[in-house]
Symmetry: C2
Subunit: 350 residues, 2 copies
Amino acid sequence: MAEHLFLRACRREPTERVPVWFMRQAGRYLPEYRAVRAGATFWQMCRTPELACQVTLQPIDRFGFDAAILFSDILVVLPPMGLEVEFPEGGPRLAAPVASAADVERLAVPDPADELPFVMEAVRQIRRGLADRAPLIGFAGAPFTLACYAVEGGGSKNWEKTKRMMFGDPAAFRALLDRLARTVALYLEAQVEAGAQAVQLFDSWAGALAPADFREHALAAARQVFDHLRGSATWARGGGVPIIYFVNGVSPYLDDVTTSGADVLGVDWRADLAEVRRRVGGAMAVQGNLDPLALFAPEDRLRQRVADVLAAAGGAPGHVFNLGHGILPATDPASVQIVVDAVRELSSRG
Amino acid sequence: MAEHLFLRACRREPTERVPVWFMRQAGRYLPEYRAVRAGATFWQMCRTPELACQVTLQPIDRFGFDAAILFSDILVVLPPMGLEVEFPEGGPRLAAPVASAADVERLAVPDPADELPFVMEAVRQIRRGLADRAPLIGFAGAPFTLACYAVEGGGSKNWEKTKRMMFGDPAAFRALLDRLARTVALYLEAQVEAGAQAVQLFDSWAGALAPADFREHALAAARQVFDHLRGSATWARGGGVPIIYFVNGVSPYLDDVTTSGADVLGVDWRADLAEVRRRVGGAMAVQGNLDPLALFAPEDRLRQRVADVLAAAGGAPGHVFNLGHGILPATDPASVQIVVDAVRELSSRG
């Protein structure tokens, strides 16, 4: 049996059409997700394999996406490191953010296979539930993005505390990134061991950095994760699962990201995909990049936007269609179907 | 007497060193600003020429910046259009945001020379107070950025309402941009008439757009402003004051912005200034782009960052040193002095 379309596209092998999945495809825009969410908190859903499995499969059942992605949150690794997280309305909050070099020294580098068994169990259950209909993507937050939350204590407009540490005490900041990178590397390795068939690292806030800081901090720490993963026996046993590096706001760093060691570059909606392909297409597959807000356009205009993204990417091989950021809760599922259908029709080789 | 350094740099003429000013240089990081602010609301300061003049001159007196910029707010044009604005803690709020094509039709296109006389009086007072020590930059919000506030009713993470109108009812959105562009064009013309020696258009939120949407909406509306201004008798009488277009998050649009009709591209800190110079340097001067958070670094590292920005820009002609975004309130004024001194020392031609 041929390998999955999505996995072949990640490897820049020829495919009969462009595969499609959406970031946050298991989410609040789906009524069946909201039904599950009504009976559990977000954090409970992350920590209960049956619920995580259930919502991961929902968009596969409904739309037939070409890949499933584990339902979880990038912050699940923080509590085992010693940083408790709450999820009140308005976004995650840390009770005791990292404020000094001494705080960094106190952080553990846990083995997530032991500390986050519910994630590994979710991966196993999802693999069974998928029954090979689609491959499963595991994921983690990138070290820089996790550092932003760890230092800031939550979301932020300017990441002022984070950058004050980065600029004011770079040694402490690098030590923080190192602990996060080691934890994340073990975490992704454990997900692959449990059955993840690809992994994506989310660098949601790397786009807040000047290019030199991106190279020194975000990119170097992501590379540390990927180097560990590629050097592991688990990764080799898994046949070398594709590694996706999503950088939100990647445009200023296109000359740098090819050195990350990832197979696929996840691209936000602000980048011109034709330029991305020109500059990194020889080294990486690209994944993206429809503006999630375009799903609020009428059908004809939405289909045109899908066609524009496909045209900019230049078609297969080496393009995975996705949104340029997570789908928004107010999105109409009918618009998702329009995009999935349009990608299939418009990218098929006759 | 030779024309001011800053104005020559804007015109890409040879200069003996790189001029420097900071976005939001008249701001809360200065104790003398906070003293004025203690006796008046932000909005009162914008509407009282004596106070606006006083704080505009403070950073010139203290640091000798090479340009002054009018103290005001980009939202002052909205009330005369029919959109009332409040400034509570946490940022501006509109009582009745624009929600439909009918709301757009109701918006006035006022003549700001009549409706905002306090701004014009501030410009005149500042010119007298400067006594030609430095040129005065007038400014306005770009139509797209003003549309974001007008539709959203305040700041936003995803600009969901704005983009829902942009994607869902593009005709109404273009009509909104048209009214804003006509108002802003008259507003900048009135500032030049009153004595502004350069103007800057702030497109703070244009960086939320995919390149095609940037071209169709943000850039087209900015061009409308610049075309009007260049076609006005006021502009010709003023000798053609330099026009600066600041686009926050400009990296994805570097192939497009040269068609804006501005003389100078204002660049955020995430862009590689060497790349910007390669791609737009033949058509525009560039202004930027130190990360405002770099001012929290120790002196030696801060000086190195200044040197890096100067090196990336390749020196004069055609470079105006600035931050890549507004200075933050928590900044130490001593760090500002370090930057100003470093620019002067490092960019001087021996």
